[in-house]
Symmetry: C2
Subunit: 461 residues, 2 copies
């Protein structure tokens, strides 16, 4: 089979070979087509899109970038728009609407049927990072007294529009959640048993306001296909499916990584983003961190006389700063990861601090000892240009460096483990408290300690 490329599609359109293109497109997978469509010119895109079958068109539409969705919606007639809207799952529709300008949203809602409009409006009530914001209202609901046979009849009748049919939810008349039953359990059971006899009654669920990361962790940890979402009165209002959980886990860890590297997070693929957009997501943080480095400059200026008296001290500044920064970010990244997996909570803060203190003392002693040996062997004996030799003054400098190193590592790990937990507690994203900010704080502290110890230990400074 020939590999389909954007160029081939454009050529077929330009040569008006619509029938051929239609048969090629309707053979392909929706995700693959949406990737190819993302590189087609804006004028030809609506033409290609019109060649798709109704179901495929909706599947592809939902996978496309927001800008392209807008181009298409503008080119759609009202009938075409209706077709797409009514084929889409309601949670996907809500995700699309959240990215659209107000006039487009108005047109979408005007063309949705009353049931779709109602469920869109319902879902738009919830914060987009909550269980309510990512759930779908399209699930299969069963009555407890139905037999398996009746349940399958119901699935055959209503299943085509549901996001998953494999987990069905059993409720009473007030929609209170009684249990969950899987198609597997039903297929493997006698067809005349009532579902209440085979359903799982110890149901794990989420509340509508629960954070989406916590919902995704539940789906991951329990290995569920879908998690039911209930409101304050324990009524079933929707479900979150495993594919949403995968998206949340993947994009949250991507966001964390970007924030940790001092980048405003973006989900857009790197190669599709403009240089200006990438610049905008990076420059504010670089500026902020550059300005905050004023403090380290200030500290060094204040100790000018000490540095002039012993230039050897200057040579160790980068090593002290880097080791402090690395020690701190080791702790902060570990704790941020634990927080986002739900393994660590605010209640664990003292256990975390106690563990980090033990780890940091071990690291501090090892590094100080290794540092001392390295200074004596390399800087004093090996490197002839170094201002350090095997005399008492040089040993005092080595002592100052190693004591500062040890104390900095302990302080850095303490800051690195506490700041993220405190940030989460007061409602900030813990990832902000990662490497660059920890480094800036630890830089200033390590320099202050350095000059303090130098003053105390080296006579005549």
């Amino acid at each position: 089979m020939m590999e389909l490329t954007p160029r081939i599609i454009e050529e077929l359109i330009e040569n008006k070979q619509y029938a051929r293109l239609r048969s090629i497109l309707n053979e392909e997978n929706a995700v693959d087509i949406s990737n190819i469509f993302s590189d087609i010119s804006e004028e030809l895109l609506p033409i290609a899109f019109r060649l798709l079958s109704k179901e495929l068109a909706a599947e592809i539409f939902v996978e496309m970038e927001s800008e392209q969705q807008q181009v298409l919606i503008k080119s759609f007639s009202d009938t075409e728009l209706k077709n797409v809207i009514n084929e889409l799952y309601d949670d996907d529709m809500v995700d699309i609407i959240e990215e659209m300008p107000a006039n487009v949203v108005k047109r979408i809602l005007a063309n949705a049927n009353s049931q779709t409009r109602a469920s869109i409006n319902e879902l738009l009530k919830y914060a987009s990072d909550s269980a309510g914001g990512i759930m779908t209202t399209e699930y299969v609901r069963l009555q407890p007294t139905m037999t398996v046979e009746q349940a399958f009849e119901r699935i055959r009748r209503v299943g085509v529009d549901k996001e998953t049919i494999y987990n069905c939810y059993v409720t009473d008349e007030e929609k209170k959640l009684l249990g969950v039953v899987s198609v597997k359990d039903m297929l493997l059971s006698d067809y005349d048993r009532p579902v209440e006899q085979i359903m799982e009654t110890n149901v794990i669920y989420a509340n509508t306001t629960e954070d989406k990361e916590s919902v995704a962790n539940k789906i991951k940890n329990y290995g569920f296909l879908a998690l039911p979402v209930v409101d304050l009165e324990s009524r079933l209002v929707g479900i979150v499916t495993y594919d949403d959980a995968i998206d949340v886990i993947s994009s949250e860890s991507g966001e964390d990584m970007q924030i940790m590297a001092a980048i405003t997070p973006s989900d857009a693929p790197y190669l599709k983003r403009s240089a200006i957009s990438i610049y905008k997501s990076r420059i504010p943080w670089l500026l902020l961190l550059m300005i905050s480095a004023t403090f380290t400059g200030l500290i060094i200026s204040s100790f000018e006389s000490a540095l002039a008296a012993s230039v050897a001290l200057t040579a160790f500044i980068p090593m002290l700063m880097d080791t402090g920064g690395n020690s701190g970010s080791q702790s902060s990244v570990t704790i941020i990861r634990g927080l986002s997996l739900g393994e660590i909570g605010f209640g664990d803060i003292f256990r975390v601090i106690w563990k980090e203190i033990r780890v940091s003392v071990l690291c501090a002693v090892t590094l100080a000892a290794a540092g001392f040996v390295k200074i004596v062997l390399v800087d004093m004996m090996l490197i002839k240009t170094s201002s350090l030799t095997l005399d008492k003054d040089s040993f005092l400098v080595a002592a100052v460096v190693c004591i500062t190193l040890a104390v900095t590592v302990i302080v850095a790990k303490f800051i690195g483990c506490t700041l993220p937990i405190i940030a989460r507690k007061i409602g900030f994203d813990p990832a902000v408290m990662a490497s660059p900010f920890i480094t800036t704080i630890v830089d200033a502290i390590s320099l202050l300690l350095y000059f303090l110890f130098a003053w105390t230990i080296i006579p005549g400074l």
Copy 2:
């Protein structure tokens, strides 16, 4: 309902209230019990475990940490071990075996039935980070001429032992993959249609040797419940299910984060790890990075005379190093993320470099301009202790700092975007090329540039 805790279980065992504990345990979810069991003392664990039903015991066993699994296996009679082994899915069994010492593996294989032993030996052939290494051989296979009704009969007969029944795979007599059909499609179709009429024939699959990250990305991007795995002769040999994909995505991003923060990655929950084990995963990198900072110290020592002549130069070293490091890690983290999502490949290296050059020039100009304004306003005019005043020499220092800043940012971003791509190409994990290593390299380069520019621009240095 009372919240179940490790303490309650231990008390019930000590008071010999086995019947009560049995009924409590068999009400709970396997994942929850395995979490609680992880805090029970080693002597009482086997007693608690024996109270579980056969199915629940297997489900819980697979969720437990490797050390606890060993404790249990040691306490098992051969019959108990047989029960657990034969209830487990073969891919889970292989994961467990890979963590066990040889004598335990021998005992497990001796107690497995011949079919289980054959599929374990088959799966052990594949690298644990390949599609073959994470797949299961327990899937439902159908013949193309079967009707939907016959397919459901087959599922009811063989489905209980399969990891998923919701995607069924249609093969010819040689096990060549012909198509995939979902239970949903079958439930919604006429029961007397042959599956070959409703199956999807354009099947997306993985090869046995394909990297597990690539397999997980396929499942994520296509939203699949499971992905079929075929051998070199296109014969179906297994499937990878969505829950394995979630685990891969979550643990790969966790690994990347840890490697980026200079930590040897571990999947074990933070609070369950000993201080010594955490220390061991951190100290080698801290030592390595500390030793490599020798170069920065060397560079500073070589320019001692310049620093002695103009102490103001020293004050800007931390700012230059931090900004360079931050710029570089912004690029490297972005590229590492793109590589692991499969958005960027080696073939894109020149597009990436061209984009990063444009971004870095924009950042460099902005930072240099802002840095110059900041030095004039803050260091020259505001801070009285600073050695910089509004004279020509101070402006020359400011010029040196800002030119170095600009060039460093461009160099840092170039290194930050190319190293991870090259690392991937030559078979290393790109994450290793993140922050700490980039920082160490960029530190040395920025210092060299700094002194070079100072020498050229400031007369009499």
